[in-house]
């Protein structure tokens, strides 16, 4: 459990944030630029001090202004991967990696040098200098350096912000591997919702220095506060399920989600593997009667639980066998179907339009697919 309750007031920016998130897990701090994400992370790291408040990791108190307690940053054992990497330019990659390791001799050993090098694919980079690395490589080395300091918590402040979009795939699979194989709690700062969907288990939504909402990713994906930030195109329920049937010939996989079964396009996830998928609201069709003769692979009976309206149309929340799915329909469609909470309706969406990804957290379950691909 990571508990944070802090106040820090400055003329330009004030932060007043509280959250409590399960750890281990990946806690995403999500919000627009200037919402206070980096300030919050710096407070957790101990690089900034709050005017008042407390920060607690498990049973350890890191900051408690009432008790006059503040563990210095260098004694917190909290790893930090900065937006810009911040590798030491006068040291080789190997020496950068060993910097924290050398200073963590007293700490319980989580991971060793060879293991980090193998996990992050750094073999070829060890003799290089930071200026000889690409943006993605810099962040992988920074990640390795932070891990080797044997942290109890890993802070990642938009680690992909300075990495070109296509190059982000050089880093993201490693972050997934980290989540699924090591039990180090992580705080992941981002304003890219795709990254959050891929990585996070818990979401803290920040706006103007305050926590707007917090909860598991599944819960939060249904919240209107989140929809306002991610925009109409990215709105959609995030569901976690496990593989019940693999159809290798057709490249589809059946997933048990709640009490129902969904069919999605997904290759490489073995039977029993846990998978996360996002069903975008704009890809979901609602029908009052069962429909025949359609190519749509998923047609599930459900109940309307909520209907909201905004400038982009109506957003209908459906309870489909215990799982919640969002559907975006036009105002005209809503008027024609006359949907209101409690009504029964069929929820249809295509197997190819859902994004499924291996998501094997908490560890112990089988890793699905090869995270490094």
């Amino acid at each position: 459990m990571l508990q944070v309750s802090v106040i820090r007031r400055r003329p330009q920016f004030s932060l007043e944030a509280s959250f409590a998130a399960p750890a281990p897990g990946v806690i995403a701090l999500f919000g627009r630029s200037g919402s206070g994400k980096t300030t919050l992370v710096n407070l957790i790291a101990g690089l900034l001090a709050p005017d008042s408040g407390m920060i607690r990791l498990g049973s350890d108190t890191l900051t408690d202004t009432e008790a006059g307690l503040s563990v210095p940053a260098q004694q917190r054992r909290i790893g930090y991967v900065f937006q810009d990497g911040r590798l030491f330019p006068h040291l080789t990659v190997a020496a950068n990696l060993r910097y924290g390791l050398k200073r963590a001799r007293q700490a319980p050993r989580i991971i060793g040098f060879e293991e980090v090098v193998a996990l992050l694919g750094l073999e070829r980079l060890l003799a290089r200098r930071p200026y000889q690395l690409s943006g993605g490589e810099v962040q992988r080395v920074a990640l390795g350096r932070a891990l080797l300091a044997q942290p109890r918590l890993l802070l990642l402040d938009e680690p992909l912000a300075s990495v070109d979009l296509p190059r982000r795939e050089e880093v993201l699979p490693y972050l997934e591997a980290l989540r699924d194989r090591l039990a180090i709690p992580m705080v992941y700062v981002s304003h890219q919702f795709e990254e959050v969907v891929r990585l996070a288990t818990y979401l803290v939504l920040l706006e103007g220095g305050r926590v707007l909402a917090q909860g598991t990713l599944g819960e939060m994906s249904l919240r209107p506060e989140l929809q306002a930030i991610v925009g109409p195109d990215m709105v959609g329920a995030v569901l976690d399920g496990s593989v019940t049937r693999v159809d290798a010939e057709n490249g589809t996989t059946d997933l048990a989600v709640g009490a129902g079964t969904l069919q999605v396009s997904l290759r490489g996830a073995p039977l029993g593997a846990r998978v996360r998928l996002q069903v975008l609201a704009r890809d979901v069709i609602l029908a009052l009667q069962p429909v025949q003769g359609l190519s749509v692979r998923n047609a599930l009976p459900g109940t309307v639980t909520r209907v909201t309206s905004d400038e982009f149309g109506a957003l209908v929340t459906m309870d489909v066998g215990g799982a919640a799915v969002l559907a975006r329909i036009t105002h005209a469609a809503l008027a024609a179907l006359q949907l209101k909470p409690g009504d029964a309706a069929w929820t249809l969406f295509k197997a190819v339009s859902t994004r499924g990804r291996a998501f094997a957290f908490p560890a112990g379950g089988r890793a699905a697919g090869d995270p490094a691909r």
Binding site: P72, Q74, F88, P89
Partner: protein, 232 residues
């Protein structure tokens, strides 16, 4: 002219090198400290320290030499104490010439080093902190190596300038052949002598060559070291 450098030139050159070397060795640690404090520490009286460090730059060197004489002379407060307790005499000695040179070149050195401190990304020190490095550890493992180009530039520049310090040296350490008669003092003496024209010219050329060499060496060294610390 048989041989470019005769005994008087060699003697002056040797003394100049000895004085400049000692002055750099003496002032470097202090200059690193002063530069770091000026660049990083938010002290209430920092402007005063800043002014004090830069004072020798604007004062007449003769005045600096005179103040040193008052302080470190045989009857000066510090001079008397040093002589009584350690048997050290500074006024009218080679060591004294080095002290006078150090005081004059100090601002030059501090400026070069301070610039390099201000160029260091403080985020690197924060990163070191999160990796478990305490204050002294951070300074030695991150800040100091990254300051190195500035430290070297400052040292070489102060050395080159130190070869030619005149006013403070002649006031505090006098013009004693073989002890404090460095290149500029020898040049001045030669100019005063009716038959010293040729010697004066050779000493002037020698000073010129040394200065040029010093400035070039500083540039070259800084480039090498910048590369060494990964700033191509």
């Amino acid at each position: 002219m048989n041989g470019l450098l005769g005994p008087p030139e060699l003697e002056a050159l040797r003394l100049s090198l000895a004085v400049a070397t000692r002055s750099v060795l003496f002032s470097l640690p202090l200059a690193v400290l002063a530069a770091w404090v000026l660049a990083r520490v938010r002290l209430p009286g920092r402007w005063l320290l800043d002014a004090l460090v830069h004072l020798p730059l604007v004062l007449p060197p003769v005045a600096v030499g005179y103040v040193l004489l008052l302080l470190f002379g045989a009857r000066g407060a510090l001079g008397g104490w040093l002589h009584a307790h350690f048997g050290i005499q500074l006024a009218f000695t080679t060591a004294g010439a080095a002290l006078a040179t150090a005081v004059i070149t100090f601002p030059l050195m501090v400026r070069a080093i301070r610039l390099s401190v201000e160029n260091i990304d403080r985020g690197l020190e924060d990163a070191a902190r999160t990796l478990g490095a305490g204050a002294l550890d951070r300074f030695l493992s991150v800040t100091l190596p990254l300051m190195l180009p500035g430290v070297l530039a400052g040292a070489v520049l102060a050395f080159a300038a130190g070869l030619g310090e005149f006013g403070a040296v002649i006031t505090f350490a006098a013009n004693i052949p073989g002890v404090t008669r460095t290149l500029p003092l020898a040049l001045y003496t030669a100019m005063q002598s009716p038959s010293g024209d040729a010697l004066a010219l050779r000493l002037a050329l020698l000073s010129f060559a040394l200065g040029l060499l010093g400035v070039l060496a500083a540039e070259l060294l800084v480039r090498r070291v910048r590369h060494l610390i990964g700033r191509p």
